[in-house]
């Protein structure tokens, strides 16, 4: 694969910190798009605001860097406007689950064919290390100097509870798996959410003795296991990876298109 075809080389080297996991996710995303044989003109990438949200600037698709937490709402308009386009929505954990939580659950419920990718570094990277709703209980951040008191979201369970028709999870350590899951998510007809655990060595790592990027990725390997695997079964404390929800359901744009055809005779 010629990665550079899909990126805006003039902005490289990019601005992410050395070892930041977000670049690995972006690389996997490019790989997924490539593996699906999509043309660049039929892909739209829409982010919110955050370190993760630098991604659209780096990618040579139709790109949009929106407002913190609102990417899925913008994406809803784009998809409704052009149902034929592939719309991918990379978001940070704060972006997706703190300020943007409502759009996430509604997108999941509505089942518009969007691919949401949460780059979950379990911290606010962009603003310098505050806790997010996915920062594990007890961990430290600049706004939780005594440790986080409130339980974190399990994004997979949240999306499932909201009715998502496709939910998957991986980590930056599992880069190839991430690419495959992203490809499957994009291929899925309907809303899909892929959570990728990503390292922020600069803030999360430093605040929580997580070590450098390499150490954090090793941790991802240790604390996760493929869903349905022996390891997962033996240790329920492990975070499961893989496709965790997959249910065929009517896609919203398709249903709406059907309605328009019925009412107006318009072929779309």
């Amino acid at each position: 694969m010629n990665t550079r075809r899909y990126i805006r080389e003039r902005f490289f080297p990019h601005l992410w910190c050395p070892g930041c996991g977000h670049g690995i996710v972006m690389s996997a995303l490019v790989g997924a798009v490539d593996s699906l044989g999509l043309s660049q003109n039929e892909v739209v990438v829409i982010s919110g605001i955050g370190c993760s949200s630098r991604m659209p600037g780096y990618l040579d698709f139709h790109t949009m860097h929106t407002l913190h937490g609102r990417a899925l709402a913008f994406a809803t308009g784009v998809k409704m406007g052009r149902p034929d386009l592939t719309v991918i929505v990379p978001m940070g954990d704060g972006d997706a689950a703190a300020i943007g939580g409502n759009h996430l659950i509604h997108a999941a419920r509505r089942n518009l064919d969007l691919t949401a990718v949460v780059l979950n570094n379990r911290i606010y990277g962009m603003t310098g290390g505050q806790s997010s709703p996915t920062t594990p209980e007890g961990d430290r951040s600049t706004t939780a100097p005594y440790g986080v008191l409130d339980p974190s979201f399990d994004l997979v369970e949240l999306a499932r509870g909201a009715g998502a028709s496709f939910v998957a999870r991986s980590t930056t350590y599992h880069a190839q798996e991430t690419r495959e899951l992203l490809a499957a998510a994009i291929a899925h007809q309907g809303f899909s959410l892929v959570e990728v655990l990503s390292q922020c060595p600069t803030y999360y790592g430093r605040k929580n003795q997580g070590g450098d990027a390499v150490a954090m990725m090793k941790t991802f390997k240790q604390i996760t296991a493929p869903a349905g695997s022996q390891r997962a079964a033996q240790d329920p404390g492990l975070i499961t990876r893989g496709i965790l929800v997959q249910e065929p359901r009517t896609e919203y744009c398709a249903a709406y298109g059907e309605l328009v055809r019925e009412l107006s005779g318009h072929e779309e």
Binding site: G57, D60, H65, T76, G77, M80, G81, N102, H103, L263
Partner: protein
């Protein structure tokens, strides 16, 4: 040839105007007194091949509208005070990213939840200054259904022409009032279509580079040009920049493209102004009561006239100054605590002659209310 004559609500006139202008996409969240716009469009839009979606809130609605617009669609949302407050962040985004779209605010009594079913015109200044940072905005209004229709079409036209969100600032009385509406036939009213770039595939396209005439041709998402859209200060390709010169240029552009055209953008009507010694300035439903009074008093020989503004922002200061010149008294008639009154005073050469006839208790201002103020102004007491 008119297409059809209907007896309809102001909110339906908005729908008719929007469909006439080519509305393709509506996203919204219900709120009194604008809800009928959504309800009618939920029915009509898919019939016309367009798309309607009810979003989870008002902010999401405007975000969706912006997204849809970037795919080339004419897009709109409608709300009222509380929802308009919630939209402010996205409104600033549309300004910054120069995305054409229409935001209807059918005003009700505020602040806060206020008086949800009562009439008010309290969001005039918010329409101008509600989002953070320096910016400019277009806001139109109307007092009768024919004008609601025309101003809705105009809102889309100006949005497309200037690549900007346009606010249609109605009020509860206009929104809910029913009267005859003659829907123009195709071609009777000009409809501005999106200006798309003529730059061919493979040639560098600059989404944020104005042509000589000041317009910025667009390219739809999904088309042959791939560019970036952001709410950050950006260069002519749409990529973020921290260069002070770029920031300076962009802010100038964003504000000046509208503020410097204030008189071009000014839509207004005058009634009996030529020899008027007393000039009423009004807008929206309040202008109906003002005109009622003017006609009534003219019949009794009083030299009184009305300037009805359809463009509120950018404020047509020169036009207003010209109209105020040489009048004995100017009365701004509005349903708030003097929001446009302040602008008229700034514009007028003799601000001390600019008075306010207003009402903000939820009751529709009447010709009698205005007359009462006029009495006082004319030194005749109450």
């Amino acid at each position: 040839m008119p297409k059809e004559t209907i007896f309809a609500q102001g909110n339906e006139a908005v729908v008719q105007g929007a469909l006439y202008a080519g509305l393709d996409f509506y996203a919204g969240y219900p709120i009194t007194p604008s809800t009928e716009i959504a309800e009618i469009l939920a029915q009509r839009l898919p019939q016309a091949g367009g798309r309607f979606i009810q979003m989870e809130d008002e902010l999401a609605s405007l975000c969706a509208v912006i997204g849809a617009s970037l795919t080339g669609l004419k897009a709109m949302t409608a709300t009222s005070g509380p929802g308009f407050s919630l939209m402010q962040e996205a409104l600033g985004y549309a300004v910054m990213a120069e995305v054409p779209c229409v935001v209807v605010n059918v005003q009700r009594g505020g602040p806060s939840t206020g008086m949800p079913t009562a009439v008010a015109q309290g969001d005039v200044m918010q329409a101008r200054w509600g989002t953070h940072g320096d910016h400019a905005i277009i806001a139109l209004t109307a007092s009768n259904l024919a004008d609601v229709f025309l101003m809705t079409v105009e809102a889309f036209n100006l949005a497309e022409t200037y690549r900007t969100p346009v606010i249609l600032l109605l009020d509860e009385v206009v929104g809910h009032m029913r009267e005859k509406l003659v829907i123009p036939g195709p071609g009777e009213v000009e409809v501005v279509q999106r200006l798309r770039t003529s730059v061919p595939e493979g040639t560098d396209y600059h989404p944020y580079l104005a042509r000589e005439d000041g317009r910025l041709p667009m390219s739809d998402f999904g088309g042959v040009h791939r560019f970036n859209v952001t709410g950050l200060v950006h260069d002519m390709w749409g990529f973020p920049s921290n260069d002070p010169a770029v920031a300076y240029g962009l802010l100038h552009h964003l504000v000046d493209k509208l503020e410097n055209r204030a008189e071009t953008l000014a839509r207004y009507q005058d009634f009996f102004c030529d020899d008027a010694e007393v000039l009423l300035i009004s807008y929206g439903s309040a202008a109906r009561s003002a005109l009622h009074l003017v006609e009534q008093r003219r019949a009794r020989g009083m030299k009184i006239g009305l300037l009805e503004l359809n463009t509120l922002w950018p404020f047509p200061a020169q036009t207003v100054r010209k109209y105020c010149r040489g009048r004995g008294h100017v009365l701004v008639v509005e349903m708030n605590r003097g929001q446009l009154h302040g602008e008229v005073q700034k514009a007028a050469e003799q601000p001390e002659r600019v008075y306010l006839a207003n009402r903000y208790d939820g009751v529709f201002i009447s010709h009698k209310d205005i007359m009462q103020v006029l009495h006082v102004v004319l030194g005749k007491g109450v």
